[in-house]
């Protein structure tokens, strides 16, 4: 490779990207839009559910239980109903998503050591929210009943042999979904940039006829490919910086591990992602064909099979096997590890190895696939 030729290609690409509003938009505006959009939309947490309460007992105990609901920021007890009808209306009209009914004699039956049912109604029209709400309700009541059992037992005889499970969630103690959505998003955004943007570049030269002139020169395939790879990897790295800044500053995602390791992984991943885009481009003669192929080959797998949106363990066996070939999977693992666990290369070397290998193979294939001929 001759540095002068390589430099000429890189400089030309940069000028073309800078002069094309479309490329610039794709390179910087769309990634930021994706980050903000998904960062907010994919936040799976449920807060301040409007709750209607029908407390038939009105005792110290029932108030005690309701206070626990309020104390968690998950429920916002707004309406205190005086009858069933009011509970129903609140749920029907959508003013409340959760209804709680505490039966008469709640306190008395508890004192007697009976199992006392309370009724919870959840608006199931949003099944995701409903499931999460039910889980919260169960947790709150379970804790409460354990405490009550302890109190009662403590006042009259030996404590019951209950197992006191104390859960501690690691890495994401508040179980904030944005904390694991944002690192995954970085991977998806990198794939979009790497795959889509670069898939257009060789195809565009074929389409416009500039390739015929270019391949009649002594330029080497390696100089052309590396010269096209470098600017897009550079853009990708800028996007990584933007996404990390956005993720930590806007969404407050912690970056516990090494920033430099994060950049290193991004570089490895981008080499493969941009390489794949170029490989597609080398095999396409039109931009339309290239972008469609790139969509299917890069965006979809990185979205569906990387473990970004849903855990890989929950997928069917066949898809799990396929996911091993998706580089975004390894990148997502590395990003989550660095962001949330603060782990280093000692744990992540298999991911690094795969990403490096993938990049090397894809770039080698691209140079094989590109011919300095018209047919």
């Amino acid at each position: 490779m001759r540095p002068a030729r390589l430099r000429a290609v890189i400089r030309k690409e940069v000028i073309q990207i800078r002069r094309d509003p479309w490329s610039l938009g794709m390179a910087f505006a769309i990634p930021m839009l994706l980050l903000l959009l998904f960062g907010w939309v994919l936040t799976l947490d449920v807060n301040n559910l409007e709750t209607v309460v029908y407390d038939q007992d009105r005792s110290q105990r029932s108030r005690d239980l309701l206070e626990r609901f309020e104390a968690s920021h998950y429920f916002h007890v707004r309406t205190r109903a005086l009858g069933w009808g009011e509970v129903e209306r609140a749920l029907d009209s959508g003013r409340a998503q959760v209804g709680l009914v505490i039966p008469r004699n709640f306190a008395r039956d508890l004192e007697r050591g009976l199992v006392v049912p309370i009724q919870a109604m959840v608006d199931g029209s949003d099944s995701n929210t409903a499931t999460i709400a039910l889980a919260y309700i169960e947790t709150i009541t379970a804790r409460y009943s354990a405490q009550v059992a302890l109190q009662i037992a403590g006042s009259s005889g030996p404590p019951p042999a209950a197992v006191d499970a104390r859960l501690r969630v690691w890495f994401n103690p508040d179980l904030e979904s944005k904390d694991f959505v944002v690192p995954g998003l970085v991977a998806v955004i990198m794939t979009v940039i790497g795959g889509l943007l670069s898939s257009l570049t060789l195809a565009r030269e074929w389409e416009r006829g500039t390739m015929e002139q270019l391949i009649a020169t002594p330029i080497r395939v390696s100089e052309l490919i590396v010269g096209k790879l470098a600017p897009y990897v550079g853009i990708g790295m800028l996007d990584v910086l933007l996404a990390v800044a956005g993720g930590t500053l806007i969404f407050g995602v912690p970056l516990r591990g090494s920033f430099w390791l994060l950049l290193g992984f991004s570089l490895l991943f981008l080499l493969g992602a941009v390489g794949l885009g170029l490989l597609i481009s080398a095999r396409s003669r039109t931009q339309l064909m290239a972008s469609q192929l790139a969509m299917v080959a890069t965006l979809l797998p990185s979205f569906m099979l990387s473990g970004f949106a849903s855990p890989i363990e929950n997928m069917p066996q066949a898809l799990q096997i396929v996911s091993y070939a998706v580089p975004a999977r390894y990148f997502v693992t590395a990003l989550k590890g660095i962001f949330l666990k603060g782990i280093g290369l000692r744990m992540l070397w298999p991911e690094a190895l795969f990403l490096a290998g993938f990049a090397a193979v894809v770039i080698a294939l691209t140079m094989q696939a590109f011919h300095k001929r018209l047919d």
């Binding site: 001759r2 430099r7 290609v9 000028i15 002069r19 006829g209 009649a216 002594p218 330029i219 001929r373």
Partner: protein
């Protein structure tokens, strides 16, 4: 039927070209062929181009001009035959060929979203013009293309004539020994075409071999030697003068008549008239003996009720040569659909 059209053409060599040059030729081609599926784009052609020569490939669209030039520049592999460019084998020495040639493709193919200067910088870099020479070569190229002072203009804003000259300038930044130009002046106005040919002649005077394709007959006259291409074969090869003299051993009559289409039909059946073709509003008829033919032609046309304004013996143009060659060929061969 003759298997090779070259063999039926008298061997025409420019006196400046010695008969046996071997590897010394700028371009040498033997039995070159190229098929696209069932279509034979180039049909076993052979020719040589001498160093410093302006060699023209003349023929209609689809006659195999571009395919030949693309094979010689290494953009296409031939299906069969052999060829050398600057002594390098077209089958095996592609990179070496690309270092010593300049190429201008048929379609304008510089970067329209780059400025004039940026395009020149890019090709200067790609061709490996030494850094110490780059500024000077660029200045020279701008001057040659008449674009001095327009360095910062976007290429897409240039008129067609300027673009062609910029494309030529980009193709010769590295001072190639052989220049391949594929229809360099298509879509360019006549004055710019003239200016462009001045550049080509200037290049040739400096010793550059110029291999150019065109379908403009008038441009063919600017070439030192010509190959007339028809349906992938070389129908004739020689200097413009030789082609005119040797091919047309006959004389040519220009006939001006009130209803030329009817006259065409009538003269086609007249004995003593070998070929007849429509040229605008006049007819060109080739005859063996002009003096004897003039009264006969006049009598035949007037006998058919046509009003003859003028009959004049003229020197044949290359277009006449071309038409006559193609007509004599199509009478020898079953008609083929033009691709």
């Amino acid at each position: 039927m003759c298997s090779s059209p070259c063999s039926q053409t008298p061997t025409l060599r420019s006196p400046t070209v010695p008969p046996e040059r071997g590897a010394q030729a700028a371009v040498r081609v033997e039995d070159l062929e190229r098929h696209f599926g069932n279509f034979v784009a180039v049909d076993r052609i052979s020719f040589e181009v001498a160093p410093g020569e302006i060699f023209g490939f003349l023929g209609p669209n689809g006659s195999g001009k571009s395919t030949t030039i693309r094979i010689l520049t290494g953009l296409l592999l031939p299906t069969g035959g052999r060829g050398w460019v600057a002594g390098h084998d077209i089958w095996t020495e592609n990179p070496a060929i690309k270092r010593v040639i300049g190429y201008m493709s048929q379609r304008f193919s510089l970067y329209e979203d780059l400025t004039v200067g940026q395009n020149l910088d890019f090709y200067g870099g790609i061709y490996g013009v030494p850094k110490s020479l780059q500024a000077e070569r660029k200045r020279w190229a701008l001057g040659m293309a008449g674009l001095t002072g327009r360095e910062g203009h976007l290429t897409r804003d240039l008129a067609a004539g300027w673009r062609q000259r910029l494309a030529l300038a980009s193709a010769v930044l590295h001072e190639p020994r052989i220049l391949f130009l594929d229809e360099p002046t298509s879509g360019v106005d006549p004055i710019s075409r003239r200016a462009f040919w001045d550049l080509i002649h200037a290049m040739a005077r400096k010793g550059v071999t110029v291999f150019v394709t065109t379908h403009y007959m008038d441009e063919a006259e600017y070439c030192q030697r010509l190959a007339l291409l028809h349906q992938g074969r070389i129908a004739a090869l020689g200097t413009p003068d030789e082609l005119r003299r040797t091919r047309l051993d006959t004389r040519l009559l220009e006939v001006t008549v009130d209803r030329p289409v009817e006259a065409l039909d009538r003269l086609g059946r007249e004995p003593g008239v070998r070929e007849v073709a429509l040229f605008g509003t006049t007819l060109h008829a080739s005859v063996t003996d002009a003096a004897a033919a003039v009264p006969r032609v006049r009598a035949a046309l007037e006998g058919a009720g046509l009003r003859v304004e003028r009959i004049e013996a003229i020197a044949p143009t290359l277009e006449d040569v071309f038409v006559s060659l193609i007509e004599s060929e199509s009478t020898n061969r079953a008609p083929r659909v033009e691709a």
